[in-house]
Every structure is written in C-alpha cells, then in structure tokens.
C-alpha cells in the first residue's frame, strides 16, 4: 500500500491519497470492516459521541461538577481559564474513499461549536494537540508577531503502546495490525507496569487508559504537574520507562528486531 502526501492550498491541510495494490483495503479477518461506514459514523456523532464528558475533560471545566446533567450541548464558553478555545484539534476527513485530508490547527470557542464542526465534517479521526497561548485557528495571523508569540502552554502527558512493536515476541502467529487474545495479554502487562510506575514513582493520580480501537492503548496523564511538563521533563519520564540491557548476546537471537534492541540496550 502506498501513501502520497501532498500539501494543498492551506499549509494546515495535507491530502493523503492511499492506493492499495490489490484494489481493496487490507483488513484482518477478526476485525471486520462491515462495522463501519460514513452513515453510521454520522449517526454516532449526532447521537452518541459524549460531547459533554469530552468537553468537561479537555477544558478542565469544574462547572461540570455543579451543572445539572442534561443532554443539551453547552453554548456558553467554559468559565475557567478558557482552555478549550486554545486547544488544538485536528481532523482527518475522507471526502472520497481513499483520499484522506488532514486538517491541523482547528480550535473551537465552545462545546457547541466543536459539536457542530464534528457533525459537519464527520472526521474519521479527531486528534488532540496542546493548549496554546492563543487560539490555534489564528496561528497564521500570529506568525512573526513579536508581542503575541504562538507557543504551547500545556498538554497532557501521553503514552502510546502498540502491538506492532511486539512482532518479534508475538509467537501466536499475529503480526502487523492483527491481534488475538494471546497477544492482547502483552497490552494488559504494559498497562499494569506503566500505570503502577506513573502512580507510585511519579505520584500521578489522574490517568485514563483508552483502547486505540485496533491494536494498542493510549494513556493520558492529566494531573496539572504532568500537563505543565516541559519537553525535557516528558522525555525524562518516557525514558524512565525504557529498560535497556548491556548483554550484547541478545543480538545473536535470530528474531532480534531493531525495536527490541532500542528498548533493551542497557540494564539499569
């Protein structure tokens, strides 16, 4: 499968054209593709996407605690610090099958504005970026400004674990995007070890683990101390979780992949 990325009119938008040699998308037998189509996705965004939970979380909006639960979407901007409007979102949209457009630096004033955009665009993927000093959608206008610097202000500390990185030790017969119950155990192990380390060694409390929808998991660490970490601080925490081995005899192991070498270079 080949992907071509072309930069289009706006520099925030990238078009990715994917063509498959066999003429159809590769899917795993266990992960059926029939479960997904744009019409169902439209219904999901209209009726099921948890906008309220999502907005309260990503804007750290404490008024959610008092607010009487209701299914009407908030049109008021959140009170505290207005983190939401300075948060970058990016949408991956697929106007025609095989053509993916990736739009960066989207930002929204309110939950309602976000919901409207999601329902209109029906993104196949929504990405969450950092909170910036200004609304990301204005970032081009801020370019070159001396007084109004467009910088990141905060961001959750995130972790990504993916079963494709375990191919050399997956003896269940799975590889690449395929998964089975046997190799999912490796994800369970990863969650246990990283979660315990984050809580016990770093004292983080507000961690949420998310199934990535296919072959991995993501962790979002949302404690203020984690959100305020510099890039250096983030690297330090991430590196802390890397186990390395000095024992070079591992290299003679036939399936020793580039990845496991990266992970296991030095015994602590």
């Amino acid at each position: 499968m080949t992907s071509v990325i072309t930069s289009s009119a706006s520099r925030d938008t990238f078009v990715v054209t994917t063509s498959s040699e066999s003429g159809h998308l590769t899917t795993d037998s266990a992960n059926s593709n029939a479960e997904y189509n744009p019409i169902l996705l439209g219904k999901y965004y209209l009726r099921l996407f948890p906008y309220r939970l999502f907005h309260a979380w990503i804007s750290y909006d404490t008024s959610y605690l008092q607010r009487k639960v209701s299914n009407t979407i908030m049109t008021q901007s959140s009170t505290s610090k207005n983190l939401f409007s300075k948060r970058e979102f990016s949408f991956t949209i697929e106007p025609t099958p095989g053509e993916e457009i990736y739009i960066r630096y989207q930002s929204f004033e309110t939950e309602a504005e976000f919901a409207t955009a999601v329902n209109k665009r029906r993104p196949t993927k929504i990405d969450i970026g950092a909170v910036f000093t200004f609304s990301p959608r204005d970032h081009l206008a801020l370019q070159g400004s001396q007084t109004r610097k467009f910088n990141t202000e905060q961001r959750e500390l995130v972790f990504d674990v993916d079963l494709t990185d375990y191919d050399d030790v997956r003896k269940c017969g799975c590889s690449n995007a395929n998964i089975c119950h046997k190799c999912w155990k490796l994800m369970t192990m990863a969650v246990k070890v990283v979660d315990a380390g984050l809580r016990e060694d770093f004292g983080f409390e507000h961690i949420v683990w998310i199934y990535s929808g296919r072959r991995g998991v993501h962790a979002w660490v949302c404690d203020e101390a984690a959100r305020m970490l510099s890039n250096e601080g983030r690297s330090a925490v991430a590196t802390y979780f890397q186990v390395k081995c000095v024992c070079m005899y591992f290299l003679k192991y036939p399936n020793f992949s580039r990845f496991s070498y990266r992970t296991l270079i030095h015994v602590v």
Binding site: N31, N33, E35, Y36, L40, L41, K43, Y44, L48, P50, R52, D61, T62, L65, V69, N71, D127, I128, G129, A130, T152, Q154, F159, V161, D162, D165, Y166, V169, K171, K185, T188, M189, V191, K192, D195, A196, E205, H206, I207, V208, W209, Y211, G213, R214, H218, W220, D223, N231, R234, A238, T239, Q242, V243, C245, Y249, F250, K252, Y253, T263, V267
Partner: protein
C-alpha cells in the same frame, strides 16, 4: 521500578507466555531449544543438562521448566549450596562477570517478552497529536473506549462495541415498550454506557474535584496575600 515491574511481569510471563495456551515459549522442543540458546556461552553446560533432562521427562510442564531454569541460574550465581561436587567445581571456574550475565539473562528474558514497549516519541513533545478518546477506528469500527484499570485483565478488545452494534442498540431501545431508567445521554441506551460511566465516575469527576481544590487554595492564598479574608 524494575523490581516492581519484574514482580508484576514474572507471574504473567509464566501464565501467558510460557505455555501452549500463551505464546508457547517453553511448550515445544523447538522453542525451548531456541530460548536456551540465548543463554550466555558460560552457561552452555547448564543448557545441555536441561535439554537432556527435558528430553527424558516428556511430561514436564512449561511452568516446571521455567522453575528448573531459575533453579540452575540460582545455583550458578552461588546462592544455593546443594550442588554435587563435580558441577560445583565446574562452575567455580566462572568469573563474577559471567555469573552476573547469567543472572541478568533471567530478568532480561522475562522483560524481553513482557516489558512495555512504548512509542516514546509520542510522549516526548508537548505538541505531538494523539487520537482522541471516543473516536471510532475506521478499519475495525470499534469505539476508542476508556479502560477500567481495576478489571484490565477482563478487558477483551473483541467485545468493544462497534459502530454497527451501538446504532442497532439505539434503534432497539426505541422499540422497547417499558423504559424506566432516566436517560440523560443517548449513549446510556447502548453498551457504551459501561465504558463512558467509568470515565465519568472514576476519572473525570475525581479529576475536576482536584482541579477545583487547587483553584480554591490558589484563591485563598491570593486572598491572604492581599489581606482580604
């Protein structure tokens, strides 16, 4: 950290990696020969002994084999004194460095097959983008649901609601005669409820309460600074 990780991982390694029902690391001759060949050269004699021992004892389980490997390693590094004279003499000739390598092999084997492999580039940068929770994976149709760490052992990716399931559930709910439960959100009518409720109760509410406590104490501090009680 590594000691704790080892304590967590070794039992799971024994349960989920070694046997045939797992990744079969010690479940076939081919696999155990392969594993023993990764032992440091200084432990070649031990590997040979184990191989012939396992050839004779065909009913030995993968778990038993792992215990035997550990026993041999413990013997080599000299924490046990119950070796016969000949083997002890042979092992005496090993340098401390070699002994250490053999001991490390034990830990590294467990870690190599079980230790988390993070894509750390995602973690390193403040402005790295990551897929939002609650999205739907286009290839599987499965919703990116929050996991409950308390019962992570029971989480099964193959039972995660798909787009098709939850839309069908919505339609089925509409057809139901008796609807007693109070519904605030439509997702409560579907199997997403379990996952989203967990996110709300065990993550979101405690998080926001803690944010509120911080805001309050900041306010109080500011008030005391300007003498405004």
């Amino acid at each position: 950290m590594l000691a704790r990780a080892y304590q967590v991982l070794e039992p799971l390694f024994i349960r989920d990696i070694l046997p045939e029902s797992g990744h079969g690391l010690l479940a076939s001759k081919e696999n155990w020969t392969g594993l023993l060949s990764t032992l440091p050269p200084a432990a070649n004699a031990v590997a040979k002994t184990l191989l012939s021992h396992w050839d004779e004892n065909v009913n030995s389980t993968p778990q038993k084999k792992w215990e035997e490997i550990k026993e041999c390693v413990v013997n080599i590094v000299g924490k046990k004194q119950d070796m016969d004279g000949k083997r002890a003499k042979k092992l005496m000739t090993l340098s401390n460095e070699e002994k250490q390598k053999i001991e490390q092999w034990l830990y590294e084997t467990v870690f190599r097959f079980t230790y988390p492999r993070l894509d750390i580039n995602v973690s390193k940068m403040q402005n790295h983008l990551l897929k939002a929770p609650f999205c739907v994976h286009p290839k599987t149709g499965r919703v990116c649901v929050p996991l409950n760490i308390q019962d992570i052992d029971d989480f099964d990716p193959f039972t995660v609601p798909t787009l098709q399931t939850v839309i069908t559930e919505l339609d089925e709910y509409a057809e139901q005669e008796s609807r007693e439960e109070k519904i605030d959100y439509e997702w409560q009518k579907t199997s997403l409820k379990k996952y989203f409720d967990h996110f709300n109760t065990n993550f979101l509410i405690p998080l926001l309460k803690s944010v509120k406590r911080t805001e309050r104490s900041e306010k109080e501090q500011q008030a005391s600074l300007v003498g405004d009680f």
